[in-house]
Symmetry: C2
């Protein structure tokens, strides 16, 4: 059995707005959706909520909270929690941010990030919105200073209930401890994201591949995710300045559907 497909809206964000993406999902039989907040804002939260519901789509996450190095991080994260609550999302995805400008103190950043999550956690719990810490690939440490599943789970252990992880195959596939840490995560896996690692990656942030075009053994990782107890969607998230963001978005969605069988 294959897990259901969800579309992270970043995958076609250069071609379509949220209304077009919702229509596209319906047209291609994609049942889940994980919207980015700028797209929600553009459509309007109430309208986005209505349209997603009227079209029978399941929200599998809201992207994103975090970025704790920003000046208005607290108010922005509280708004993000409220939006995730409104949309009935199973989690607010946290991309936690890197180091403040001018700093080289990575340990201090990591400690600060923990404090910031602790500061918004009571509101998240009240709203019934779990926070999903997403470890990013170590090459993206300037975007997130949480870089392994083990580190994210150590944070979860320290922070207590209401915090879990988003497991994105692109960020974690290389990790020698992946299998054991996914097992450790168990029910704390709040989202599972897929795409592929291109053998000749040209950019550290925006050159992800379509599932099947790269080196990630997605069926193996899915088996570990499922063994941990995850029963949610497989969410496709492809940042691709040089390829998929340039294509006809209907072709992108069709390809995602076709490739799901091999994931």
């Amino acid at each position: 059995m294959t897990l259901k497909l969800s579309l992270n809206t970043a995958t076609v964000r250069k071609q379509w707005n949220l209304a077009q993406i919702i229509d596209g999902c319906v047209r291609h039989g994609i049942e889940g959706l994980s919207p980015w907040r700028d797209q929600i804002a553009q459509m309007g939260l109430a309208q986005a909520k209505k349209s997603i519901r009227d079209n029978g789509l399941t929200v599998t996450g809201v992207c994103r909270g975090g970025f704790f190095m920003e000046k208005d991080w607290k108010s922005d994260n509280l708004r993000a929690i409220e939006e995730a609550h409104e949309l009935g999302a199973p989690a607010l995805i946290l991309v936690v941010g890197g180091m403040p400008a001018g700093s080289k103190d990575l340990p201090a950043s990591r400690s600060y990030i923990e404090d910031c999550i602790a500061a918004i956690l009571p509101e998240a719990r009240k709203a019934g919105v779990p926070l999903a810490i997403e470890p990013l690939h170590p090459m993206q440490v300037t975007r997130a200073a949480v870089n392994t599943l083990e580190q994210a789970l150590d944070l979860c252990d320290a922070l207590g209930p209401g915090v879990g992880v988003a497991a994105d195959a692109y960020h974690i596939w290389w990790d020698p401890k992946l299998k054991s840490q996914l097992a450790r995560a168990g029910k704390r896996i709040l989202g599972y994201h897929i795409c592929d690692w291109l053998p000749a990656t040209r950019d550290l942030f925006n050159d992800r591949g379509m599932m099947g075009d790269g080196l990630i053994d997605l069926p193996l990782i899915r088996s570990w995710v499922e063994a941990a107890g995850y029963r949610g969607f497989q969410e496709v998230e492809i940042f691709s300045e040089l390829d998929w963001w340039k294509r006809d978005p209907d072709e992108v969605l069709r390809t995602c559907k076709e490739r799901l069988a091999g994931c």
Copy 2:
């Protein structure tokens, strides 16, 4: 006190051959040298040995063995051990290779790599040449499937005496477990390599920065390396297609010397 400076010859390999590099080190008062095998071959092993000795330079490593996915890996690694022995190197650096073409089986690759190191280890022990497993940054997993210090040390534990690690700040600086794993490594740190992580890295392999131009807290990492008991050289290794490989090599060596005070 600052550790002595060694020049990994990759740093100016586009501009100079080994004879020119040796002259350059002498001219700039750089006391250590870590040559690549293609440059040794071009000069001839006997001549390289003589020239390095006559100029009073210390060999801090030979780059590289490993690449166990190549057809002739065994004979090539045995030759590399012999060359490292001839040059009196404290270690042969192992860049272990990624996955064979067409494979997505990273766990199998890792297990194969361990078998290959075990197969050459008796010869390395006989020659008195320690093998230094170099974990590469996870973004370079196609070049080496050993990607954290913890993984490298687990290999060392399994393989027994005669194997240690090369700690390259560029590859490991992001690691949340860096401090504890360096402490665990102790005397098994066979080399310490430095350069810097550019905030806007443009290439996964050949866009390293000069010390001081990036985000790595080199004095902090050096303090951990020294606390582990390391008393060797700091070896500058900069792969830089877009910048330092295009500059006057005398400027490169002068800059390395100048920046050492901040490392």
